[in-house]
């Protein structure tokens, strides 16, 4: 530690002056400035194309919000089906989740010609105002519990959804046309002055689609 061994023959001991630095400017800063400009432009163009407009909901590999929107499920029926499944929980108390009803009390929806009719005009009425009296479903005549009017508790959208659900339920083997909220609205308009439940006889008079 003493100054005596300060000058030991160190193999790497060069000059101990701090190194110096030249004050050339050179051409590199100018070139760099140009390069930064070019890269800023190129980078800006690149980001314009690939950064998804700096949106929070555009991820790789999608390009823009419009593109992501175009990829959303467009099939309205699918949305109705999903909503209908929710709404059907009200119906499943009687008609059961399987749609098979309860023998002697609640008629089945599965395979029912009332449900699978080519047009929805009749079942919309049943849902809106209820049904009473004997009705023939799946080869049996049902005298059981009358169906209450539930139309006032649900929107046109929800009724359309649940009807679409029972008409198109693949698990039941159903594949009838979808019901639109507009159709429900039209029927609701027509029957707005009626409060009594429907009977099967009355319903038979109402035409369903082109078949009748």
């Amino acid at each position: 530690m003493s100054s005596a061994n300060r000058n030991t023959s160190n193999p790497q001991a060069g000059d101990e002056q701090p190194p110096a630095v030249s004050r050339h400017v050179g051409i590199a800063p100018m070139l760099t400035l140009i390069a930064v400009g070019v890269l800023l432009y190129a980078g800006g163009m690149y980001l314009d194309r690939h950064a998804g407009g700096f949106r929070a909901n555009v991820y790789e590999p999608y390009r823009s919000l419009e593109y992501v929107e175009s990829l959303q499920p467009q099939d309205k029926g699918d949305k109705l089906m999903a909503q209908g499944k929710q709404v059907y929980q009200t119906c499943s108390a009687c008609h059961q989740a399987s749609g098979e009803g309860m023998p002697g009390q609640f008629p089945p929806l599965k395979g029912s010609k009332w449900v699978l009719a080519s047009g929805p005009d009749r079942i919309i009425r049943i849902v809106l105002n209820g049904l009473t009296g004997p009705i023939e479903v799946a080869g049996e005549t049902w005298q059981g519990v009358p169906m209450p009017a539930i139309g006032s508790g649900f929107s046109n959208q929800e009724i359309a959804a649940v009807l679409t659900y029972i008409r198109q339920n693949e698990e039941w083997g159903h594949n009838a046309t979808a019901v639109t909220p507009e159709e429900v609205a039209a029927v609701r308009e027509k029957v707005s002055d009626r409060s009594a439940p429907w009977t099967a006889k009355e319903l038979k008079k109402i035409p369903v689609g082109e078949e009748e």
Partner: protein, 276 residues
Amino acid sequence: MNLEKLFLSIKGLGTVALWVLVALVAIGILVAVVAYANRSRGFRLFLVASVTLGSSWYAFLVAPFQQVGHEQPSVAEATGEIYPTAPPGQVKRGEEVYRSNGCVYCHTQQVRGTGGDIPRWGQRRTVARDYLYQSPVQLGSQRKGPDLSNVGARRTSEAWHLRHLYAPEWMVEGSTMPPYRYLFEIRKVVGDGSPDALNLTALGLKEQVSPNGRYELVPTEDAKALVDYLLHLKAEVPLFEAPLPKKQEKSDEKQNKKQQSGQQPSKPTVNANQFE
């Protein structure tokens, strides 16, 4: 200030112009401050450091935080289904086991939109919303083993996972995963034995562990929690920012079929899914 809104409001100028504008303003501020502070070399360097670090801090932490830091679970429009939901306690415990044993060093939890990831690891790419309830977020950076974002959908058997944790090479040929035998215990059978006990014959360990059937191999609570966590890992629910590309085509096909069969409504297609 919301970056997204800012960019949108000036979008008419074009991104390039915006870049130049931002750069000019930034340089202007810098020059002014530096000129003011020119008396001290150290302070000038300090300013350089703070401004540059601050810029990256803003661009890479503040701005993304404004965008995804407050994200909420998605609520499906039609069904009201919420995704993702807060995981139950057992799953949280499993997440702790996953973290403390450093599973992240071999397993990623991210499905990219490219690179063959989607058919192999999931239905769709993963997005920020998938990780809302994860902490720590175990994205990982290397795949020495498979990606686990959707392992709960891919491997649904609890027994398989437990056996795999105990003896990976027995379940997956050529696996380099270390066995996690310390998450299990071998103990004497009491009464009818534990309902969780592993099937020793299926593991080929009957002879080794309990030739006379008096011992059983039982997972610890940690092992069960870890498996619950793995089974919970699913990123399949379609989100707005991550639609399902495959399903889209499928539903198109379905629609076409419906239109075709719609002409003969008397022939319902039973279990149409089977034929697809």
